[in-house]
Amino acid sequence: MHVEVDVPKCVASGQCVLLAPDVFDQREEDGMVVLLDDNPPAELHDAVRESATVCPAAAIRLEES
């Protein structure tokens, strides 16, 4: 799985950080998304998929291999 984030679209709802804290974080200065791992291990895939689904700004893009 390859993860991309579109930072300008992010609205800092924080839901990805709650669901997959090993993959997503927030920038200290403005709460915008920070991608910690663009190739997360298989056990996190469900949480990353759910993060992409609930992201209100559709700022998380996934490519499943």
Partner: protein, 401 residues
């Protein structure tokens, strides 16, 4: 209210025998006419009502809709709705919305809200200790559900809690659908004036709080003094009329489903899921989210033309059986619950949601841990539900413990 048989009047009134369920009319429309017209202002405006989860999410996530209530076709609650200052950024589209929202996004980061958890737990403990010193029955709203979020938002903002009768009154006016546009505008202005003085005070005597940090953003040229005041007013208002109602309604709901109380007393993941289901089940913003199409767009097979208004009743969409299995059942372990629309969806989704979650995740378990014999002291039909407010709740909730 004048309305033709084909265009039902928009209503908020819940069934008396099922006050936590959406009006049956909408349940029927969702099945038969999921995108249909309803009448507002005694028939002078007939915006679209979008009731299915999938369609609701499509509208809220689409750039073809504006949230600006000053469009001629905007389906506002009040025909005489007055424009709000830009600090109330939910009423503005980008780029103003984004610019205003970004002055506050860091304040609601997950990590930052996590640092507030000990304070929320302390306030919860103090309020419940004080409540149990009373000789029951006592009003759970007055003694717990309202003061907790009020104290928390005051601590976050740096607003003195002693002033709470004033700003609770203004917040009440802002969600009261029987208030005129002028009265609502006056309440906005009252809050804005009060907070403008506070912004100036904080500049002279800074604290570790949001108003101080907004004042600093004024000094950096990011926003004006008035913006700082209006943004603070927006938070103060939004922090009151939402979480307080969720705490009270969640408590009623759990008392009505005693078999599910163990979930709210479980581990952090169980509690988090339970809170999401309560958010879905109750969906307190029952006045509906309001948008106006700025382009022609097809929703659920129906063409909505540029200039036409759309009401999205999230409490109805969150009970859509095509998305949520047995949606009228409370299921604190529901698998797909995080896709609820209780905080909205799209770029305007609630900024304060991490704070609301933290408050609910701390307060609700503690209520049931500390008050295992908690009971509502009146029959359900005597509870005064707030029918004519944009945010659903109860006026008071007499309880014993």
């Amino acid at each position: 209210m004048a309305s033709s048989p084909n265009v039902p009047a928009f209503t908020l009134t819940r069934p008396q025998d099922a006050p936590l369920d959406p009006p049956p009319l909408y349940e029927r429309l969702r099945e038969e006419q999921p995108v249909t017209r309803v009448s507002l202002w005694e028939g002078r405006l007939t915006p679209w009502l979008v009731t299915r989860w999938e369609d609701a999410r499509a509208v809220l996530g689409s750039p073809a809709f504006s949230t600006d209530p000053t469009h001629p076709g905007a389906p506002n609650f009040k025909e005489d709705e007055q424009p709000a200052p830009r600090g109330f950024f939910q009423n503005f589209d980008d780029p103003i919305h984004a610019a205003m929202r970004r002055t506050l996004t860091r304040e609601f980061m997950i990590k930052r809200i996590d640092t507030l958890r000990p304070a929320i737990a302390r306030l919860t403990d103090e309020l419940l200790t004080d409540l149990t010193k009373l000789s029951g029955p006592a009003d759970f709203v007055e003694h717990f559900a309202l003061p907790l979020p009020s104290l928390v938002i005051c601590e976050l903002l740096g607003v003195p809690y002693e002033e709470h009768p004033f700003f609770q009154e203004q917040s009440k006016t802002l969600v009261d659908l029987n208030a005129t546009g002028e009265e609502a505008a006056r309440a906005f202005a009252n809050l804005g004036e009060y907070l403008l003085r506070l912004v100036q005070t904080k500049r002279a005597t800074p604290g570790d709080d949001v108003v101080t940090r907004l004042a600093a953003q004024v000094d950096e040229g990011v926003i004006t003094d008035q913006d700082a005041a209006d943004l603070s007013a927006f938070l103060l208002f939004a922090g009151h009329e939402t979480t307080a109602n969720m705490i009270a309604l969640s408590t009623i709901t759990l008392l009505n489903h005693p078999d599910q109380i163990p979930h709210i007393l479980g581990g952090p993941d169980q509690v988090a899921s339970a809170v999401e289901e309560l958010l879905r089940y109750l969906s307190i913003v029952h006045g509906g989210l309001r948008r106006t199409a700025i382009d022609d767009v097809t929703i659920g097979g129906v063409t909505i033309h540029a200039g036409e208004g759309v009401i999205i009743p999230v409490h109805v969409a969150n009970r859509d059986p095509e998305f949520f299995t047995n949606p009228d059942d409370l299921d604190l372990e529901r698998a797909n619950v995080r896709q609820h629309l209780a905080f909205g969806y799209g770029i305007h989704q609630c900024l304060g949601q991490p704070l609301a979650r933290a408050e609910l995740q701390i307060a609700l378990p503690e209520v049931f841990r500390r008050l295992p014999d908690l009971k509502i002291a009146v029959p359900m039909e005597e509870i005064a539900f707030k029918q004519a407010t944009a945010v659903y709740g109860v006026r008071e909730l007499p309880v014993t413990w």
